[in-house]
Symmetry: C2
Subunit: 207 residues, 2 copies
């Protein structure tokens, strides 16, 4: 029997996507669930609902508490002390194009985690193509070549199509988790429940 | 030594406040924490950031998934099947005025839970003063008399002052939890962590 599956939709500029990216492998292994990593850009989704920046910038009280909350969560999970990207949110276009290019490659997960760690644990920029190339080089990949391939029209189209898929499947934030039967879970706080659902464990008598 | 304390700020129209209200007593007892129940209106807080309704109405994808999420959470907590108030959000002014009037009364907690249950488990309106009076009567209290006292200018002022306190202490949503040392936790998902913090248990090495 094939393993149950869960899609993990993430945005490189998103603090809570970072928390999920660093946790999902061990939790999925324990739950017996195969994860499909789905990079996408949340910016167009926000723009479609009239937001010109991160809600954490648009609503300052919410933003202040988000940073404190992520700091607490990182400590609770045993992650390194949080570093706050400057500016926030980071422009994630280059990194996301590369991740889309690597959607079916074995380096997608290590690349994804390296980008998140650079941004939220090492205090490094991930915005410039050169920063993304350096992360790829650090994984013994060919940074310049992959960046060039990621900029090809066909790959840009794949990224746009992923964004359309996100909206059409009801995503409105990152991270989000989607099961094969279309159940949508939003936010790092729902990672465990999403994995349980994918594995066939419904809360109460829900279907 | 006095018990550690936690303030629970809640809004009667808020789905996640409902989930916390039904859970906090048992969890606080287990954690050895005394809870101060703080009713307030979130509407003015939302209005101050430019929202004219609930974000769950303003952003339809978010709203759709919220209802499903609360349904899942209610099932996971063993609460009754969720009923969706119509309209949503319910006008909570009358109920909140009564709760403010009862801030130091032994009936505050049973009244609060009865209002939430009426709205989210029994599918009843809580908007009209007569609905609030019926809930009070059901608790063997004098509904008409309490509603009249709740409408007095001094009590309306107390409600406004509570709203000012909420904003000045950084609240931007409901439910929220505040510790004596000023640590703010937002959302039903943080109830357990807020109680742990109040009891002196910090995640990792945080202060």
């Amino acid at each position: 029997m094939p393993r149950p599956r869960l899609e993990f939709w993430y945005e490189f500029a998103s603090t809570y996507s970072y928390l999920s990216a660093m946790r999902i492998e061990a939790l999925a292994e324990a739950a017996g669930v195969a994860v499909r990593w789905r990079p996408f850009l949340i910016g167009p989704v926000f723009a479609a609902q009239g937001w010109t920046s991160s809600p954490f910038n648009l609503f300052p009280a919410k933003g202040r508490n988000m940073w404190r909350d992520v700091e607490r969560q990182a400590a609770a999970y045993g992650l390194p002390p949080l570093t706050q990207p400057d500016p926030f949110p980071q422009n994630s276009l280059s990194a996301t194009r590369v991740a889309i290019l690597g959607a079916d490659e074995p380096w997608l997960v290590p690349f994804t985690k390296a980008v998140f760690s650079a941004s939220f644990a090492q205090g490094r920029s991930i915005a410039e193509p050169s920063a993304v190339a350096a992360i790829l080089d650090g994984l013994d990949l060919d940074g310049p070549q992959l960046l060039k391939a990621a900029s090809a029209e066909a790959n840009k189209t794949r990224l746009r199509v992923a964004g359309e898929e996100a909206r059409s499947r009801g995503l409105y934030g990152a991270p989000s988790f989607l099961t094969d039967d279309g159940e949508l879970f939003w936010g790092n706080d729902r990672l465990e429940q999403a994995l349980s659902w994918a594995a066939g464990d419904r809360p109460g008598s829900l279907r």
